[in-house]
Symmetry: C2
Subunit: 127 residues, 2 copies
């Protein structure tokens, strides 16, 4: 069986994808993939997601230059979640200009941002 | 605003949750939470998920003893994905008896299991 057919896609034809720094283990972002984006990810060696909000393929870094070089691809026991071990170009995965999207920590019943903005988003996306 | 109200729940009232080893950074599993399970996770200091297949709260480790002690809880920039940094009791997160659920690696177009079974599932769940 084709490795893509083994994935348990949702009814919408998607699978959750976690991007993890291949060196440090830091979790950088979470997004969704469809069949085409996962096939493209393998073909290019760079993460390609499916943007649910924009309804189109999203080659991560296409605007920002912050592409994700794929070192390894894994799936879980149920083959319904993808894990990408990546090298994050530019050191910034989050659209807020932070290294990781997971920068809110729960502290005493509040979500507290605990990671610095490394680059102003207006400079990343040249609005 | 209550920290639970800040979470962007899906239409089904769920949020994806990633469990990561707080010490090593290894990603151990992926599951879903509803509002009650996330509140219980904080109250108990142990991961409680929502089992979509069983349609009920799932206190991870309730059968196996492999509970997950929560060291830290994060959400991402959109507040629609939860990250738990945990200590995995028993050293086994996966129902297959492996440390992590993410044990299939893509190698030359095939999903190859690359992590050992540490304990026979029949012995974990005492069928």
């Amino acid at each position: 069986m084709n490795w893509l057919d083994e994935i348990k896609w949702t009814e919408d034809g998607l699978v959750p994808a976690i991007a993890q720094d291949a060196e440090t283990g830091e979790i950088l972002m979470f997004a969704w993939m469809n069949r085409e984006s996962l096939a493209l990810t393998v073909a290019r060696g760079e993460a390609v997601y499916w943007s649910r909000s924009r309804g189109r393929l999203w080659h991560k870094g296409e605007e920002s230059g912050h592409v994700q070089k794929v070192a390894e691809i894994r799936v879980d026991c149920d083959k319904d979640v993808v894990l990408l071990k990546i090298e994050q170009k530019g050191g910034i995965a989050c659209h807020t200009g932070r290294r990781s999207c997971f920068y809110f920590r729960l502290e005493d019943g509040q979500w507290v941002p605990v990671a610095p903005v490394l680059k102003d988003p207006d400079r990343i996306y040249r609005k």
